[in-house]
Symmetry: C2
Subunit: 98 residues, 2 copies
Amino acid sequence: MELDRIFTALASAPRRRMLAFLSQTALTTSDLAARFPMSAPAVSRHLSVLQNAGLVESERQGQRVLYRLKRDTLLNALARLASEVDGPLRREPPREAI
Amino acid sequence: MELDRIFTALASAPRRRMLAFLSQTALTTSDLAARFPMSAPAVSRHLSVLQNAGLVESERQGQRVLYRLKRDTLLNALARLASEVDGPLRREPPREAI
DNA sequence: CAGACTATTAAACGATTCGTTAATCCTTAA
DNA sequence: TTAAGGATTAACGAATCGTTTAATAGTCTG
C-alpha cells in the first residue's frame, strides 16, 4: 500500500471522476474514453496510473479491457490518512473502516 | 471546498507529513522547517499550498507565523471522495462524518 | 492469413512543480 | 531609525506531468 502513489493518482480530477464512474460498474477503456474529452491514449495512461496505485484492476475480455474499482485500496488509504491527522482524542478507540 | 486543490495538496509526501505534525500541535514555519530536509522557503511554499487548499490556517504571532491544522476540511474531503466511490449498497443510509 | 477493432506504448511538446539562493517584507527591540 | 530575526516572494534550473499524434500490440472474424 504505497500511499504516495495513491494520493498522486488521486490528485487529478479526471482520475477521480473515472473512479466515480467505475464505482457504479466496471467499464472498458473505450467506455471511459467516450465519457471524457480526451484521446483514448490519454485515458489509457490515466487508467495505468490508477492501476499502478492499486486503485483499479483490469481484466482482458476479448479485444476489450475491463477496468474495475478496487474499493478497499481507496477506502483504506483515505482511512489511513484520516487516522494520521485525527486528533489525539479521536485516536483512542479503534474503529471500523469508513 | 475545492476538492481539486485539496487533493493536489495531498499529493505530496512532505505536505502530508506536515499535516501529521500539525495534527499534534500548531507549529511555526521555522518549527516545521527544522523537521524537514529542505529550506525554509520551500517549507513556506508547501504551507501556502496547504493553506490555499484550506487544510491549514495561519496566525501571525509577532515575528512568527503559527500554522494550525483545519481538520474539518481534510476529513470532509476524504469523506466526500469516499462517498463518491462508495458502492450503491453503502450509499443508502446517510452517515456521520468519518 | 488479412483486416478490422481495441488498447497500449512511443515520441514530442508545452505547462507545471519542486528545489535552490537571493531579495524583500514584517515585526520587534535597541 | 537602524538592525536583526522570521517569513515570504522572486527568479531560475531540473524534473515531472499531461496531452497529442503516430506507431505497435493483442484479439476476433472472414
